[in-house]
């Protein structure tokens, strides 16, 4: 007797039957639409002018990472204006796994309904999940998420203004000596004795960077000393606007020192906007001319160490000042004196010695006092919260951490 499964035609017939049964009985067909997403909510985007609506929806039950190949490839978002012609317009798409969307093409005060559909890789579209309530974009008059930051800025600025006015009324203010700034005179004097020039690098950022402005104010004071000593000055700049501003500053310094004739416009010149091109130009000049004093005051990036090490190699006395925390260690390692962060901003007030400028430093101190007090309170309540995780201390710590200090607060 012949066994049926040994017959090749019988086996082929069986395979075709199995394939047909599987194809018909298969729970998912290629052109089957995926399941619809869950409930959709649409709300006005907070803290804006009323030009956006935020959507959130529950993912389609078929949008799961364990389903291979994926049944949902994307979500399609459609919008209908309530007072419009009832047409659903596509406004955006989001890839699978995403359940939020921000519609930024809406008009303030208009009412909108939204629907979200899941789309399969073959293009089959699920049933729509529709918002039940229309959403209306509205304008907020104030960024509430930045309220704490505003309050802190107001407090610090208020303190600065208060101390400026107190200083104007003749109140004497003590400012601790800053070695880096005391060294400016020494450096310029040394350059004069050696008959070499002073190099001043005002950073590589444009004039809209506050560090560049602070650098130029220091340049003004340094240039006054240079004019008094009748030394030579060299200011290569990486931005044309900085060159123009630096020329004005230096000219004013020479004028105030009573030596307007010694001012040479060409001592302040433009090299290039390109970071390493600028470094090549400045370091090349340093090696050739060997300035006796080098000042680096402004915003710096990777070029900080290239400049400072070259200055060190030629034996120049070097004073640096920057508010770029990542570059500070390089300057500290390679320069004789470094103005760290706030010292750099205090430099112009310190060097000028004008009482109302010194008042700003006292205002800064009030800000530091506030920051320190907040940190102290925060550390205390956080420590208590460790022992009482459900207590009031935990919520206070959370509030300080997320609202006052972080995010919208002291460090936005």
């Amino acid at each position: 007797m012949t066994r049926p499964y040994s017959n090749p035609s019988y086996v082929r017939w069986l395979a075709v039957c199995c394939w047909l049964v599987l194809a018909v009985a298969s729970p998912v067909r290629a052109d089957d639409p995926p399941a619809a997403p869950g409930s959709v909510t649409a709300v006005d985007h907070p803290n804006d002018v009323g030009n956006a609506i935020d959507l959130t929806w529950e993912p389609s039950p078929d949008d799961r990472p364990d389903i291979k190949p994926p049944r949902v490839i994307q979500y399609e978002i459609r919008r209908q204006e309530v007072s419009g012609d009832g047409e659903w317009l596509p406004v955006g798409e989001q890839t699978y796994g995403t359940t939020t969307f921000s519609d930024k093409q809406v008009e303030r005060g208009h009412e909108y309904l939204y629907q979200v559909v899941a789309v399969s890789p073959e293009g089959a579209v699920s049933e729509a999940a529709v918002t039940t309530e229309p959403a209306t974009p509205t304008m907020q008059y104030f960024r509430e998420d930045r309220a704490w930051f505003g309050l802190i800025v107001l407090f610090v600025c208020g303190a600065v203004v208060l101390f400026i006015s107190l200083a104007k009324r003749g109140r004497r203010l003590y400012v601790r000596p800053i070695p880096g700034l005391e060294a400016v005179d020494e450096a310029v004097g040394r350059a004069t004795e050696m008959g070499r020039e002073c190099l001043f690098v005002p950073g590589i950022q444009d004039i809209n960077d506050i560090q560049t402005v602070a650098g130029l104010t220091v340049l003004g004071r340094v240039a006054t000393h240079i004019a008094e000593y009748d030394a030579d000055l060299d200011v290569p700049t990486a931005r044309s606007l900085v060159m123009t501003a630096a020329r004005e500053t230096v000219e004013a310094s020479y004028l105030s020192a009573g030596r307007p004739d010694s001012f040479r416009e060409d001592d302040i010149y433009y090299l290039t906007d390109e970071q390493f091109g600028y470094v090549a130009g400045v370091t090349g000049k340093m090696v050739r001319d060997k300035p006796a004093a080098c000042f680096y005051m402004g915003a710096f990036y990777a070029e900080s160490l290239l400049l400072a090490e070259t200055g060190n190699a030629i034996g120049a006395i070097q004073v640096a000042g920057t508010a770029m925390p990542s570059q500070l260690p390089f300057f500290v390692a390679a320069c004789d004196y470094t103005l760290i962060g706030e010292e750099f901003f205090a430099a112009s007030a310190y060097l000028s010695g004008e009482p109302f400028q010194l008042g700003t430093l006292r205002g800064q101190d009030v800000g530091k006092l506030l920051g320190g007090a907040l940190l102290l309170v925060g550390c205390t309540v956080l420590t208590i919260a460790v022992f009482q995780p459900e207590g009031a201390a935990a919520s206070v710590a959370d509030f300080i951490k997320n609202h006052i200090l972080g995010g919208a607060g002291f460090l936005p």
Binding site: V161, S240, L305, F356
Partner: protein, 244 residues
């Protein structure tokens, strides 16, 4: 007048940017102010170009030390400017094939692209690569054990450098078995933390971060104070003299 007008412009722009940060309605004002700055900066770029040429020409004509470099700078500047403006080697764009100048000046294969890709980029990369040598020389000087502070710095740097490599983990692999021998959780945790990679994490996330935050807060206050001085006109030294 020479100082008053720029001061008014600076103060107005500064206050507009501050207001724009807090009031959504004025957000576009801040963007407009920045657009104006970009326009001015672009115009000033031409001024910078002329200044560069003038300086280099002067150096060459006076035969000052290093005038050869000035010649190289000048030639490079003129060539780059020419190939960029004349769009040398640029093929017409597919969108507007009838206009030979419609292609992008920096399209692949063009002379400007070639200058950028094969001259400018390698030269920039060379300068950047030199940083590695400078870091080594600066570290050598910074880590010399001259006094107590320098010794602490040296030890800390040694731990951090070693902890960031596999050698650190390998050298202190005995720490975890040793910690397991202690019944007291405090002692066990203390010894576990001595493995170099974990010690590095503690140094970076506790000591280093605390110091950095203090500096950052100081910087933030300095920025606020300096900005206020500029906006209120307390410090006008960056504007030059008032004489016309």
């Amino acid at each position: 007048m020479k100082r008053t007008v720029p001061l008014i412009i600076a103060a107005t722009t500064g206050f507009v940017l501050i207001v724009a940060y807090f009031i959504p309605y004025t957000e576009t004002w801040g963007e407009t102010a920045m657009a104006w700055f970009n326009i001015i900066a672009a115009v000033a770029f031409v001024l910078g170009g002329f200044n560069l040429m003038k300086n280099q020409l002067q150096k060459i004509s006076d035969r000052r030390p290093g005038w050869g470099y000035a010649a190289v700078t000048l030639i490079s500047f003129v060539i780059t400017l020419f190939v960029g403006l004349a769009k040398v080697g640029v093929t017409p764009s597919e969108t507007y094939p009838e206009y030979p100048w419609a292609g992008a000046y920096d399209q692949e294969g063009a002379a400007f692209w070639w200058v950028y890709e094969y001259l400018f980029l390698p030269l920039s990369a060379t300068m950047f690569a030199m940083l590695a040598f400078y870091i080594a020389s600066a570290a050598f000087r910074a880590f010399r054990a001259k006094n107590v502070e320098a010794v602490i710095l040296l030890i800390t740097a040694f731990i951090v450098l070693l902890g960031r490599t596999y050698a650190g983990v390998w050298l202190t692999s005995w720490v975890d078995p040793l910690a397991a021998q202690f019944e007291s959780p405090f002692m066990s945790q203390l010894i576990t933390g001595l493995r170099l990679d974990r010690l590095t994490g503690t140094i970076m996330n506790v000591f280093n971060l605390a110091g950095m935050r203090a500096i950052t807060i100081g910087i933030a206050l300095g920025v606020a104070s300096t900005s206020l001085k500029v906006l209120l006109g307390v410090d006008r030294s960056y504007l030059g003299s008032g004489d016309d």
